[in-house]
Symmetry: D2
Subunit: 487 residues, 4 copies
C-alpha cells in the first residue's frame, strides 16, 4: 500500500485486516495505491494452487479514517457466567501516535451500563490498555434461538474534547467442553452445519452484503445452525450477520491441504501464525464464533506437522482462552495430533471417494480414536461430509456426479453421522459450488468443486430438500430431547 508513491504498509494473507497510520499529512489531494498480488510462489506458503480459487484484487472493504493524536485501537469484551449471573470483562487499548505524552480519558458503556471512566497517560508513540469488569443482572443470553446483542461503546476524550470512539457488539454466552460434549450456555450443543467458501460467480470472493445475507437465508432455510468458514477467516459482515441471526461459526485460519513439504516452506510458520494473530483480536467479540479451527487437512500424521499444530494451538490459547479449538483431519487412522485440540474433528467421504458404508466407516474410525489416540474422551465432530453433484445432471443410473447420487449419498451420510451417539454434529461439504484453481481441473468437473448443496448461482440441487428434511427432523428431535431432559 502506497501513499503518494511511498510504501506505508505491506501485508501477507488476503483474509485478515491490517492498517496503516500516516501522520503529518499535508492538506491536499493524495493518492492511495494498493497493489494486490495473487500469484503463487515460494514466498507464499498459504496460497497455493488449491481446491478453491485464489482471487486477486481488493476483496474486503477499505476504510479511510481521520484520527487525532490518540485513538482507540481495540475493544475486547469477555462475558463470564458466575453465580447465576452474567459478568463481562472489557479491555480497551488506546494508542498515542502524537510526538508527545498525552493524558486521555476513556469512557465505556457496556450493554447500556455506563462504567466509570478511566484516565491513562501515554508517552509519545505508546499504547496502553484499560480494564473494566461489570455485572449484568438482566442480560439476555445470546443463543441461536435468541441472538441478543449488546453494544460496547468506548469514547476517548482529551480534556473536554471527544477525539475518538469505537463501538462494537458482543453477546453474553459461554462455550465449554464437558467430556464428549460441547456446551453452549451449559447445554449440549448439536451442530447441523455447512462449510462455506466466500465465492460467487459475479463477485468472486468479494460478496456484497446482500449476497452474504442471501446465503445465510438459504443456510437457515436448510435448517442449519452453523457455518464453518472454510478455509480462512471470513468477512466481518458475514460474522455480524451470524451474530444477529444466531448462526454458530467455526472460524479457521488460512490453510488447506498442506503437505509436510508445504509446511516446511520457510515462510509457513510465520505466515500461518500471523493469520491467527490477526484473526482472533479482530473477531474476538463475535458471540457467533464458538470455536477456532486451524490447518485443515494438513500433515497431522507427521512429527513435523504435529509440531506446527502444537504451536498454533498454544498461540490460539494465549490469544483467547474463552473458546475451544480444533482442526479438521483427513488422516484416516494415522493422525497423531488428537491430544492437542479440545475437539476431535474429521473430514470423511464414505460413498464418495470410497464405497465403504457410512456406519461401518464411522464406527471403525471412532473406535480407533477412542482406543488408540490422545483424542479419546473428547468431543467428536464430522467437519466435512459430502459428494459431488453437477447441477442439472441426472440420469437413471444415478451414477456419481448426478444430482440423484449426491442426494442419496447425503441422505445416507447425514443419517449415519447424526445417529452416531457420540457425534456432536456435522458440517456438510459444502454450501455452494465453488471455483477452484485451474491446476485442480483434473478431478474437478467444470474446474469447480461441485459438492455444493446449491450450485454457484445458488440453485438448489436435488440434495437440498434431503438436507433440509434431515436437518429439520434432527432439530426437532434435539428439541424433544431437550424437553425430555428438562422434565
Amino acid at each position: 500500500m502506497y501513499l503518494d508513491g511511498k510504501k506505508i504498509a505491506s501485508h501477507y494473507n488476503a483474509y485478515t485486516i491490517f492498517d496503516a497510520i500516516v501522520t503529518d499529512l499535508e492538506n491536499t489531494v493524495h493518492t492511495l495505491t494498493i497493489r494486490a498480488d495473487n500469484r503463487f510462489s515460494k514466498d507464499s506458503a498459504l496460497h497455493i494452487p488449491n481446491d478453491y480459487m485464489s482471487y486477486g484484487g481488493v476483496s474486503r472493504p477499505v476504510v479511510l479514517e481521520q484520527i487525532r493524536g490518540q485513538y482507540i485501537r481495540s475493544i475486547r469484551v469477555t462475558p463470564h457466567y458466575r453465580e447465576n449471573c452474567w459478568h463481562a470483562d472489557a479491555e480497551v487499548e488506546v494508542q498515542n501516535i502524537s510526538g508527545q505524552t498525552a493524558d486521555v480519558e476513556v469512557q465505556l458503556t457496556l450493554a447500556g451500563q455506563k462504567l466509570p471512566s478511566r484516565h491513562i497517560s501515554l508517552e509519545a508513540g505508546a499504547s496502553g490498555t484499560l480494564c473494566w469488569s461489570a455485572v449484568f443482572e438482566d442480560a439476555e443470553e445470546w443463543s441461536p434461538e435468541n441472538p441478543a446483542l449488546y453494544e460496547a461503546a468506548a469514547y476517548l476524550k482529551n480534556g473536554n474534547e471527544l477525539i475518538d470512539d469505537l463501538i462494537d457488539r458482543f453477546g453474553f454466552r459461554r462455550v465449554e467442553i464437558s467430556g464428549k460434549d460441547i456446551l453452549l450456555n451449559g447445554k449440549k450443543l448439536r451442530i447441523r452445519g455447512l462449510c462455506r467458501h466466500e465465492d460467487h460467480p459475479q463477485f468472486g470472493c468479494a460478496l456484497p452484503y446482500s449476497a452474504i445475507a442471501a446465503d445465510l437465508e438459504i443456510i437457515r432455510h436448510l435448517g442449519a445452525n452453523s457455518v464453518r468458514t472454510s478455509h480462512y477467516p471470513n468477512d466481518e459482515l458475514f460474522l455480524d450477520l451470524c451474530d444477529e441471526q444466531g448462526i454458530l461459526v467455526w472460524e479457521e485460519n488460512h490453510a488447506r491441504g498442506l503437505s509436510e513439504a508445504d509446511m516446511k516452506n520457510p515462510n509457513f510458520e510465520a505466515q500461518a501464525e500471523r493469520v491467527i494473530e490477526e484473526m482472533i483480536p479482530a473477531h474476538y467479540n463475535h458471540p457467533s464464533i464458538y470455536i477456532w479451527g486451524i490447518l485443515n487437512e494438513c500433515a497431522s500424521d507427521s512429527e513435523y506437522g504435529r509440531e506446527c499444530y502444537r504451536k498454533q494451538f498454544e498461540l490460539i490459547r494465549k490469544l483467547d482462552s474463552s473458546r475451544p479449538c480444533s482442526f479438521a483431519s483427513c488422516k484416516f487412522k494415522t493422525d497423531i495430533c488428537f491430544d492437542l485440540p479440545d475437539v476431535v474433528s474429521y473430514n470423511i467421504y464414505p460413498l464418495w471417494y470410497h464405497d465403504t458404508l457410512v456406519d461401518e466407516y464411522l464406527k471403525d474410525l471412532y473406535c480407533w480414536v477412542q482406543e488408540e489416540t490422545g483424542g479419546a474422551g473428547k468431543p467428536f465432530l464430522v467437519t466435512e461430509i459430502g459428494a459431488g453433484g453437477i447441477y442439472g445432471y441426472r440420469n437413471p443410473a444415478h451414477s456419481k456426479w448426478t444430482e440423484e447420487y449426491q442426494a442419496m449419498a447425503l441422505e445416507q451420510q447425514l443419517t449415519g453421522v447424526l445417529k452416531h451417539p457420540d457425534c456432536t454434529g456435522v458440517y456438510i461439504w459444502q454450501f455452494c459450488d465453488i471455483r477452484v484453481s485451474e491446476e485442480w481441473f483434473g478431478g474437478r468437473p467444470r474446474t469447480m468443486n461441485n459438492k455444493g448443496i446449491v450450485d454457484e448461482y445458488r440453485r438448489r440441487k436435488l440434495s437440498y430438500d434431503v438436507v433440509r428434511r434431515i436437518f429439520l427432523e434432527d432439530a426437532e428431535t434435539a428439541v424433544k430431547h431437550a424437553q425430555t431432559a428438562l422434565q
Copy 2:
C-alpha cells in the same frame, strides 16, 4: 450359449463374432439361452474398469441359420494392383459337418466375373480352401471419393443342388507404406479422423443401424475421412457403412491402458490374441479398413510389454499381409516398441493434461522418435488429441471443461498437428461423450469421458464448428496439393 440347457459354445470378448454348429437336432421347439457376463474379474484380462463402459447383455446381432452337411465358412478376397491393372485373389473355405465324405462344387462370382467352378472332396468333419485369381480390367478403384464396392458371391453345390451361398462385398484398393507416407492407391494418405466408441445413452453399445448411420452422417459433416474404432473391433454394420461411404477405418483389437501388471495376467496373451484371430478373418474383406491397431496405451515402455506387442504384430502379419499395422502409444519419450509396427502413432494431450504448447511438444516428441527410436523414418500419426468440454458449460474465464476451452484447445491442437510436415494425420479424441466405468468417476465429470465433439445425445459442442472448419480447409488444401503435384 446353451441349447435346451446344454452348453454349445462359450466365448470370451464382447466384440468379436463366434458361432456354434449344432447337428442332429430334432424337429421340435428348442430353447437357445445366452448368458452374458460383464463382471470384472481376474479371469478377464481385457475387460477391466476402464475409460469406457463395459455394458452387459447381447449387444451384437444373433443369427440362426439352417445349414446342410456342408457350408461355406468364409470368403476372402485380396485385391492387387499390378501392371496398371486390378487383380484379385479369392479363397473360399468350405466345411463338411456331416458324418461322411462329401464332394462339393464351389462357384464363385467376383465383381460380376463368373470364375471357373471348383470341386473339392472333404472328409467327414474336414474343411478345405479353394483359391482363385482373376484380372479385373474395368474395375473401379475403391477410394474415399468413390467407394466402389463389388460383390464376391460363392455358391456351394452338392450335385445339382445348391446347398449354401455366401455373399460378401469387397473393393479394389491397396494400402502401402512408402517412407514416411502411407499410400492409398499410390497416393499419399491424409488422415482427418475421429476416435469413436460404440456408445449411446439409449442403446448402450448396441447401436441400431439408424444410430450408426446417424453417427457417420455427423462424422462426414465434420469433414472427417476416417474413424478409429477405439478400443475394440466394431459392429459389422458400421464397417459396411464405412465401406459404402468411403470412410477409412483404423480397426483395433480390444485393449486399453493395460499396465505391465495387467498384461502379466495369465489370460492376457491368449485372450488378446484371440481377438485378433477373430477380428481379422471376419473383417478381412472390408476395403475401408486400411490399418490394424493393437494394445492402445499399454506397457510399450517395458520389456515385458514389448514382447506382447511383438507377438501380436507377428500374428497380425500372419493373418493379413495386405495392410499395415500400428499401435497408439502414450509413452512420452519412453516407448521401446517403435521398431515393431509399420506406423508410429502417438496419443498426445498438450493443452489438456499439461500446458506445453502443441508445436513445441510435438516437435520434441517427433525429434526423439526420429533420433532415438526404431520408429525413425516411418509414417507418423497422431491417434489421439483432444480436450474435455462439458456440453452446456461455458464461462467467460474459458476455464478447462468449458466448451470454449475445448474449442480453443482443439483449434490449436489440430492446427499444430496438421501443419507438421511429417504427420500423416490426426484422430480427434473423440467423436461423442461416452459413459465410463463408475470406478473412473474421479477424473471423469458425469462418470463420462467428456472429450466428445458432440455429447452423448450427439448435440454439437462449440468445438464442432472449429473442427469442421479445420478439417474442411485441410481437405481443400490436400486437394490443391494433389492437383499441384499432378501438374
Copy 3:
C-alpha cells in the same frame, strides 16, 4: 413414386401404407424414385403448421416384393367370444394381377389350427375374398397381463406350386361398451396411458425398432398400460410391440386442431376419410388396438364439423364393427357431437392453461356432459392432461415451465381424474417432448412441445417419478378392486 422415371403411384398422407404393383418388368436394373413433399399448402388439408413437426422424406419402411400372377392381398381375423369359448372369423383376399383367369387354392392356418383349404377362380385383374370360421377351445385370451398372440398364416397355391403366403398375428380378445364402462374381455377397463408422438431428435419421425422398443420400455416402467397414437396412425413396428407387450392402443386418424375453416378445405373430407380407409384394414388384426379415434380437437362445436365427425364414425363402423370409437374434444361445454361416438373423451388442462382446480373443473365438465349432451351415460375418458416442464429448469418459486411445477400439476391432475368415479382413465399429454412447426414457436419454448414426462432425449423429468408412483398405485388399487369384486 416413379419406376424408371414413370409414375407408378402417388399417395397423400405420411402415416398410412400404400403400394404399387408393376407388371411386365424387364429383367434388368431399374430405378425406383420416391418424391416426398412435406410442404404446407391448400392441397393438403391434414398437414398444416401444427403442434408437432411435419418431417419430410421417407419415414416408414419400403419393401420390394416379387409376386406372381396372383397374391394374397390381406388377411383379416375377427375373434368372437361365444358360449364360453373363443371363435374366430377370417377373411383372405386374393388378387389376380395376371392377364388371364386363374384358379387358386388358399390354405389357412389359424392359431395352429389348419383350416380346410378353399379354391377360388379369379378373372384377369379381379380379386376375391374367402371366409373361414373356427372354434378355438384352448385359446389363451390376449390381455395386458398375458398378451398371447397367435399366427394367422395364409398360403396361396396355383396347382401344386406355392406362389404366395401372408403371415400375420392376432389375439383373442373382445372390447365392449357396457353403460359407462369399456369392457376388455368382460372386465372393466382402466386406462393409465400416455399420448405419444413419433419423434426423436436423431431420427425425426422415423424411429428405428430399437428406439421404439426403448420408448415402450419407459412407458411400461412408468406403469402405463396404454398409448394414444396422437395424432395419426403409427408405425407397424410400434403396434407389433404393443401386441407383444400387452399395451392397449388408442389409434387415431390424422388430424389435429383443425378449425371449421380448415375442415372446409375442399380436400379435407376425402383426405381424412382416406386415412381411415387405409388405417383400419392395415391394422385390423392388432389386438392391442382397442379403440379408434378421429379428429383430435377439431370443430366439434359447429354444425359443419359435426357432419364431418358423423361421416367418419359411419365409415369406421363400416370398416370395423369390433371396436368402439371416439374423439378427443377440447370444446369446453360447447361440443355438439357427443351423441356420435361410443366413448366421450376430453382433453383438459386445469392448472396449466387456466388455474381452476382439477376436481372442480372436471366435475363441472362431467355434469354438463351428463345433463346437456348426447354423451350422457357413455364411458368417459380424459384423453389429454398435462403441463409444460422444461428439462433442467427448476426454481424455488416453482413457476410454470419448471420441472417442479409440472410434477405438482401432474400430481394434482392425475389424482383428480383417477378418483373421479365415472372416468375410465387418463392419457397424459405426453410421453416425450417433441418438435413443433416453427410457426408455433410463440407458445412453445424451444419450438418444442415441452409437456413430455421425458424430454426429447428421453431424460426423466421430475414428474416421471410422480407419474410412476400414481400409475403403480392405481394399478394396485385396480387389482385389489378386481380381487374384491371376485370374492
Copy 4:
C-alpha cells in the same frame, strides 16, 4: 408508512422516491413500519400482470435523517453553453418546517466555485427557492468519453450555525435536437444501447451496488454507450454509476403495454403523471440522462391514448426544458402521436414475431413515418429489437429459441438498423433475461422473458459476441466518421 402505528405517509408506485417529515418526536425508541403492497388491483393502473415481475417489499434504500427547523429540499443545476463557454443555473429550495418564521442563509459551491451566499426569510411551514448563475471557464465537458463530474454543494446556516447541507453532482453537457439528429455537446449522437430491467435471481429488483456495477461492466464490455431504463425510473445508484462511466440513459416513467382500456382506468392519469413529477426532480442533475421516455407500447394509436401522451409530454416539458422526450411505439403504421415527442422511437421485432426481413420492414416503416405522420423530419430511434434465446438451448436446425437463432437474428437486426442512414441508434431488447408475471407464462418460456443477451445469471449467450463485435465496429466507424468530419 407508519411511525409508532400512526400513518405518516403513503405512496403509490414502486420506483420513485418519497419522504415523510415527522416533527415533535419524543426522544425515545420509535418504530417505523413500512407496508408494501404489490397485489394487482383496479386501484393500481400502472402495476398490472406484465412482461416483467412486480416484486413486493422495499426495494430501494430507506434513509433516516435528523433535520432541524429548516432544511434544504433540493438543488437543481442546469448547465448552458453560450459563447464558447459553460454556464450553469442553480436553484436551491429551502423548507421551513418549524412553527415560526426563520431567516436562513444558503451558501452554494458549484464545481469548486464558491458563489455569493444568499439569505431568505421563510414563514412557518413555507419553502422558498434561491437562484444563482455562474460562468465556468475551465469546465470540462461531460461526455461518454470523458464523464467529468462536478459537485454542487449547498449549505444552510441559521446564524452562525450550519444546520443542513445537500451535496449533489452534475456535469456540463447539453442535448439538442437538430433536424434528424440528436446532438450531444453539438455532436451527432449515435446510440448503441440496451434496455435493462432491474432484475436478478438473487435480489429481485433490489440489486445491491456490486450487482449494478457488475451489470454496467458487462454493458460496457459489450461496447454499448446507453441504457434504456425500461420500464420505470431506476435506482439512484444506477444513475450515479452511469454519470461516472459516461453511459447515456433513456429514463422513462412507469408504464408498459397499457391498452386503451388500461389507460381509461380512473387512476391512470394521476398515477402516471405522479411518476413523472417524482422522477424528474429527483434525477434532474444526472448528466447521463439525455432523454425522457413515457408510456412504452401504450395506446398511441387511439384518440384517447393520444390525449394522455399529449398531457404527459406537456408535463415533462414543464418540469424540464433541457432534455428532449420521446416514447417507444409498437404501433406499426397506426401510431397517431408522432407530432408530440421530440424523437420518434419504435420497438420492432422482424425475424422474431414475424419473418419480414429487417431492411424491408424498417424501410417501409420509416417511409410511412416520413410521409404520413407528424414525426416526419424528427430524429428516429429503434428502442427495441431482439429475439428470444434460451441459455443452453442450441440445435443444428437453429430453430427459434436457440442461442444460434438469437445470435443470427441480432446480427441481421443490428446490422440492418445501424446501416439505416436516418437512424440515431438502437436499443437491444434486452440486457438480461428477466422474470415475468406468472400470467404471462404462455408466450414466455420459463415464465421469463428470454431475450437477454445474458441470462438471468449474467451468463453470456452466443449472441453476446455478435453484439459486441457489431457495437465495437459501429463505435469505431462512428469515431472515423467524426474524424473525417473534423478534417
